[in-house]
């Protein structure tokens, strides 16, 4: 009798423990339960990384409020948990593991950090069947055969390059010079621009790289100047943008420059003298590529609603290029409506449907093009516009000086 009692006690205890380990934290589909969104970002990171993370988080929080006001995700109210990973992949993985093992396992994970964090967290997310979106794509983060529940929100360098080529063609350029940094992005962007220009029938007269630690780009620019391109396609972020502009002025080269989105994110070109170079001859020939949503347009109702929602919750510290997370929750809400469920696999299937993507009524990028074979947005060239440098207000260009 005692043995039977002992066996019963052991079995019951084991069952309770197992339930504690797995069941309590599962992503339930009970409509009474909140739809748990975990967002990590480098809020305590240094400098611009913190501003970027704060904008990503603000976008997710604003989106949660807006979606909740319309009934939530398939009737479940969104509950956003913000975790500071300091921009560090190890911390992000640790915090994600803690959340997965807790009684409040996330239904959705949003990574607001760099691609190192995407690389570190994606296997863990796939293993635990958690739907995710990330703003920093890796080589295979958009591959559904490897990460079926992950979707990239950021357009690829190829998407951006197609936008630059479309603009160059529209301006009537037939020859272009390219200059890019030795960063991982720059080394991908340089060849992508060359491919896109060639496809658009524009001759690339030279494709020069500079070391991102270099203090002067005169040699590379002089080499391009000798080949007389009609315009320059420029990649750079931070101090190298300043060195590029200084070097172009030094050469007395009056050439139109088309900067990539990272040029627009450099505060030097969006600040007036003496702190920056906005409004000076150095930027007279510069236009930068941004998303349509990042350029202020009083007629863009959907974008302005998003900005108002975000501004209501706090200051928008970085430009809206970092606000992709606003779109993420709209996409999930539309997918849940289509699937009639919040099961992550069902949601992922629905997210691949063009009709679902259209019905999401996204704001940062108007049209995402996720498919069954690629979970990247494949943004149309029409998503991008070129703007003159200007001050940034509420995350948008075109409000003030320099416009």
């Amino acid at each position: 009798m005692n043995r039977r009692l002992l066996a019963y006690a052991v079995t019951t205890t084991a069952a309770v423990l197992l339930a504690g380990c797995g069941g309590g934290g599962s992503a339930g589909t009970n409509q009474q339960e909140p739809y748990r969104v975990l967002i990590t970002g480098g809020l305590s990171a240094q400098g611009v990384l913190a501003a970027n993370a704060a904008t990503s988080v603000l976008a997710a929080q604003a989106s949660a409020e807006d979606v909740n006001a319309k009934g939530g995700i398939n009737g479940r109210r969104i509950e956003v948990t913000v975790v500071d990973d300091a921009g560090d992949a190890t911390q992000a993985v640790t915090k994600l593991r803690e959340a997965v093992a807790s009684s409040a396992k996330p239904d959705l994970y949003l990574n607001s950090g760099p691609s190192t964090i995407s690389t570190a967290t994606l296997p863990l997310l796939t293993q635990n069947k958690i739907l995710s979106f990330n703003v920093a794509p890796t080589k295979d983060s958009a591959d559904p055969t490897k990460f079926p529940l992950n979707f990239d929100l950021s357009p690829s360098p190829d998407d951006q390059a197609k936008g630059v080529a479309a603009e160059a063609k529209a301006r009537g350029y037939t020859s272009i010079g390219v200059i890019h940094g030795s960063s991982a992005f720059g080394e991908t962007w340089g060849p992508a621009i060359e491919r896109a220009m060639t496809a658009a029938g524009i001759t690339v007269v030279g494709n020069e790289e500079y070391d991102v630690a270099s203090l002067d780009m005169t040699p590379q620019l002089q080499a391009l100047q000798a080949k007389q391109p009609q315009a320059l396609a420029v990649d750079g972020y931070g101090a190298p943008v300043g060195y590029l502009l200084q070097s172009v002025s030094r050469l007395g080269w009056n050439v139109p420059m088309m900067g990539d989105p990272s040029v627009s994110a450099t505060s030097l070109v969006t600040s007036e003298p003496p702190a920056g170079v906005l409004g000076t001859p150095q930027v007279a020939n510069l236009t930068t590529q941004v998303y349509k949503s990042t350029s202020y347009d009083p007629a863009a109702t959907r974008v302005n609603e998003m900005v108002a929602s975000m501004a209501k919750l706090g200051q928008i510290k970085a430009n809206l290029i970092l606000a992709y997370n606003y779109d993420a929750l709209l996409l999930v809400a539309a997918a849940a409506k289509d699937a009639g469920s919040t099961d992550p696999t069902a949601l992922a299937k629905s997210l691949e449907k063009p009709a679902v993507q259209d019905s999401a009524d996204t704001a940062v990028i108007k049209a995402y093009h996720f498919t069954g074979t690629a979970h990247s947005p494949n943004a149309d060239p029409a998503e991008f516009v070129f703007v003159r440098p200007s001050v940034v207000k509420d995350g948008q260009f075109g409000h003030g000086a320099g416009t």
């Binding site: 240094q46 400098g47 070391d211 002067d216 080499a223 931070g238 943008v241 300043g242 200084q246 702190a275």
Partner: protein, 285 residues
Amino acid sequence: MTLLWSGLALGAVYALVAIGYNIVFLSSHTFNFAQAQLVMVGTFVAYTGLVVLRLPVLVVALAATVIVMVLAGLEERFAVRPVPDHQTQLVTTLGVATLLNGATQLVWGGQPLTVPFFGGNDVVDLFGGRVYPAEIALLVLAVALVVGLSVLAKRSMLGLALMGMSEDREAAALRGVDVRKLAFWAFAASGALAGLLGLFVGPKTYAVATLGAALALKGFVALAIGGFGSLPGALIGGLTVGLVESLAARYLGAEYSNLAVFAVLLLVLMTRPSGLFGRVTERVV
């Protein structure tokens, strides 16, 4: 000619960092890895004084000189003096460099900040090339410092005491030189110079938290090419690095720029292991 000006100006920046390395090296045989970071702090102080507080140039120059001199003095007192051997000092001064990199990023952020040059910011034509006034000032300053410090080293008691310390610290102490005090003030002087340089280097490089790392390596290469302890060597080494870097980037491609600089360094060290102007000292074995 524009390319030559660009290379020479870049070389002048490296030379000025190498001169700072040399001032400390001559007095105590310590290699101060944080010297480039002290120049970087000088650019940030110049930015704050000129752009944020809008103070007169002379006041900013004085403030930058004093602030960075105090920082260098603190470095000597807490990261160099308590450490008995020069090898370990490499680690502690590297620690100070890392600390300054992080601190500047925390205080001023990661974005580049413009430091206006008091002599004008418009490009000028000179000897068939185009150059910024700040770059001309950098070149003049580098040459003037080398000439001035060389004269000081040979013609003044202070300079002779420093040279004596450089030759033999114990012998200098026996001849009445307060070696500890002199080493401290040499450290402080290199800091004062770094602070003042902020007003000249900042207009070319911006005040940015990655500047220290960018300057430290090339400054070291300039020193190794010119020879440790040689002031004219620092100037020639710096200008060589700047010119080779620019010409290689122009005619071979940016990917060969650093390779060319290190190829020149290897060539110099293989033919003259103590650098172009370095002195070989005999040792009794």
